[in-house]
């Protein structure tokens, strides 16, 4: 019996059409737009000026505060503009726009492909290097990595959990990384185990990636304490709390963090970036992005420089045709619909998905028949139908009592609702209202 989380969840058609496509290097675009806020927390402080010459890997903006991250140049060239640029939600956020000239890297970065397994750095140095490299969680939330590694006082890390679940349909970037960079990922794990001083690591992988499970299981034999945990396919297993429940069999208490269970969770993409940052001195300037969709002629996995416009990726994948109805940044369950294709790839972009027009339109909303399907699939044990009704009526006190703030916004409720009710749309609204009230109360 394969492990999984017991409560709720849905089975999705995985549509991993790019699972067999090796990671391809995308050519460097003529201009890149690098937003200064690509992470959760405070935007970074810009260090360069218009007209400055920059090299690949050079620090462009400095972390501003504990929860923040460094931003490096992903290209070499001249800083053309520092001005607000449209992000995926259409709002304008400060960004550094660079005209590309050549591809000149900082000398400190080791660009060779050779695997370095020997760990020379001390735990403090590892964390310092990760922080300097501007590393964030590459699974989507883009939470600064060094914050997760700084264990709060009074708590102790006991194990490391690696998220190789990739439960979103279509996306395959983590899957390909696990296959092509397995050794590097294991070295990355060893580095983090050293930094956190833990002796156990669990790599959670869903069983729809048997090749990755096999390859990592075989290689992990050389790494004491590292074991691969095959998991049953179930969405949203890639969510931190559900993953911990599935791999460790324990629940993160409401309002607490994984570290309260003694666990630190990292995505495989982030682990690879840890390897590169520590062993190769390479800051986070590129990432693997899955460009996929049934209407694309060449869906694939690309290694992309941060700041590359989405349109470049789409063209490399065969171009967007007339049939396209929706372009998403991320997977179909939690991804963000883009309003235009000129927005840049950022650290948190895991995929670009083109949905055909026929699949993009939501079905008409019908009245709730109280079937209870949303209740049975909610992996957090909430009652989505109730939360939506309460949000519509603006009953914030009751919403707080019903724990709207526990919602992880996985979207299973809206997905399952036979009446096609926009449950999550409303719940998200209610959650943010309640969160604002709680924040105001604390002040």
């Amino acid at each position: 019996m394969l492990k999984t989380f017991p409560k709720g969840g849905v089975h999705l058609t995985d549509n991993k059409i790019t699972a067999g496509k090796p990671i391809d290097n995308l050519p460097v675009p003529p201009t890149v737009t690098i937003p200064v806020s690509q992470h959760a927390g405070a935007p970074a402080e810009v260090l360069v000026q218009v007209g400055d010459k920059v090299k690949v890997g050079q620090l462009l903006a400095q972390s501003a505060g504990f929860i923040s991250g460094n931003i490096h140049s992903s290209v070499s060239g001249t800083v053309k503009k520092i001005e607000p640029a449209t992000d995926s939600s259409g709002f304008k956020k400060p960004a550094i726009i660079i005209d590309v000239e050549g591809d000149e890297w900082l000398e400190t970065i080791d660009r060779s492909e050779t695997l370095i397994t020997e760990i020379k750095a001390s735990p403090e140095e590892i964390i310092q290097k990760i922080k300097a490299a501007g590393l964030v969680g590459l699974g989507g939330a883009a939470f600064p990595a060094h914050v997760k590694l700084s264990i709060p006082e009074g708590k102790k890390a006991e194990c490391l959990v690696i998220n190789g679940v990739e439960c979103e349909p279509y996306l395959t970037c983590d899957h390909r990384l696990m296959l092509e960079k397995s050794e590097e990922i294991l070295v990355g794990i060893a580095l983090l185990m050293e930094a956190l001083n833990v002796d156990k690591t669990f790599i959670g992988i869903e069983k729809n990636k048997p090749d990755a499970i096999e390859k990592l299981s075989v290689l992990a034999k050389d790494y004491p304490g590292v074991s691969v945990v095959p998991l049953k396919e179930k969405y949203p297993q890639g969510s931190e709390k559900q993953l911990l429940r599935a791999t460790l069999g324990r629940e993160v208490p409401a309002g607490a963090l994984p570290i309260d269970l003694g666990a630190v969770v990292f995505n495989v993409g982030s682990i690879f970036a840890v390897y590169e940052a520590v062993q190769k001195n390479k800051p986070l300037i590129e990432r693997v992005v899955t460009v996929t969709g049934k209407t694309l002629s060449n869906p694939s996995n690309f290694k992309v420089r941060i700041g590359t416009p989405v349109i470049n990726l789409l063209e490399a994948a065969g171009g967007v045709t007339e049939e396209a109805g929706k372009i998403l940044s991320g997977g179909p369950m939690m991804g963000r619909a883009l309003t235009n294709t000129n927005v840049p790839i950022v650290k948190g972009s895991s995929g670009i998905l083109v949905l055909p027009d026929t699949e993009s339109k939501r079905r008409p909303v019908e009245s709730c028949i109280r079937c209870g399907k949303c209740v049975s699939i909610c992996c957090m044990g909430l009652e989505p139908f109730l939360l939506m009704a309460l949000t519509e009526r603006n009953l914030t006190e009751r919403l707080e009592k019903e724990k709207v703030t526990n919602c992880i916004e996985c979207g299973s409720c809206s997905y399952t609702c036979p009446s096609s009710r926009p449950l999550l749309d409303y719940i998200r609204q209610g959650k943010s209202t309640v969160n604002n009230i709680i924040r105001a109360r604390k002040k």
């Binding site: 259409g90 709002f91 304008k92 309003t339 993009s360 909303v365 926009p422 409303y426 998200r428 609204q429």
Partner: protein, 288 residues
């Protein structure tokens, strides 16, 4: 036969009597002594329970009117001055007259002025749409057109014009309760002083972007050029954040600013048609 009737009669009467006694005791024990004036004030109020006064409902306002000594701050926007005067007379207190107000939609960006850049397909709620992104046009400030204001209006005074997808206020039905102002996530709606014959002059735009950016997304956006402010003889117009604002308290409805606006962002409503004046074309104005 008679015994059955007598038996039922006595038992029913007995039960009735018993219940009456219980009811009496309960009503005595839980009696709430309330100023009878409150009921009288409630009777005067329009009973819309809209919350426009700032209280939960008409009864809450009445309680405030009766209990407070100074009621000059209390006002029922639905009933207006006549109702407040009646209450003041009844209670022997004084209430200053207030100008009647009306809700005004400060956005004129229908689709010919403000072309769509994408197609919104989420839940029909401005609040949700506003949290998600800038909206289905290039303008990040104007009306979203999902009708949150229509839903909260207790008086049926707002409706969405299907041709423009913009809300329209029925001045006669509007009670100026301010529910729509609170509901609009983008602060497009404002309560403005009501003038004779429902005449209005206002800047129908809330875009705080720089002129070039605002103009790019909407042809009737206020670009903050300041021409209206310079030409206003009553100093009623101020410019802040690239946006002109006409103070309805100071505006004398002279209509001078309307002709000055290069983009047509200032609207004049319910005025008689002007005599033909030389129309300056938009390009000339922009060039000058």
């Amino acid at each position: 036969m008679y015994s059955i009737i007598a038996y039922s009669f006595i038992s029913m009467a007995g039960i009735g009597g018993l219940l009456a006694i219980v009811l009496y005791i309960v009503s005595q024990k839980f009696k709430v002594i309330e100023d009878p004036m409150i009921d009288e004030v409630v009777a005067i109020l329009p009973q819309a329970n809209c919350g426009g006064c700032g209280f939960a409902g008409c009864r809450a306002l009445s309680e405030a009117c009766v209990s407070r000594d100074d009621i000059s701050q209390l006002y029922c926007p639905v009933g207006g001055n006549s109702v407040m005067a009646e209450i003041a007379e009844l209670l022997g207190k004084t209430i200053p007259e207030k100008d009647p107000m009306v809700a005004v939609i400060r956005c004129n960006g229908h689709h010919s002025n403000r072309p769509r850049t994408n197609q919104y397909d989420g839940a029909a709620s401005c609040k949700i749409k506003n949290t998600l992104y800038t909206g289905d046009t290039g303008c990040a400030h104007g009306c979203l057109g999902e009708g949150d204001c229509v839903k909260v209006c207790n008086f049926g005074a707002i409706s969405i014009n299907p041709e423009t997808s913009l809300p329209v206020v029925d001045d006669n039905a509007c009670a100026a309760c301010g529910a729509c102002v609170k509901a609009c996530p983008r602060n497009v709606i404002e309560l403005r002083k009501k003038s004779a014959k429902d005449r209005k002059i206002y800047v129908s735009c809330v875009n705080r972007e720089k002129g070039t950016v605002a103009r790019k997304s909407c042809t009737v956006a206020c670009i903050g050029c300041g021409k209206c402010a310079k030409n206003c003889p009553h100093e009623a117009i101020s410019i802040e954040n690239n946006l002109a604002y006409i103070d309805s308290e100071k505006c004398k409805l002279c209509r001078k600013c309307v002709g000055e606006c290069p983009t047509g962002a200032i609207l004049e409503i319910n005025f008689p048609v002007r005599k033909a004046t030389p129309v300056t074309s938009e390009n000339e104005v922009l060039a000058s």
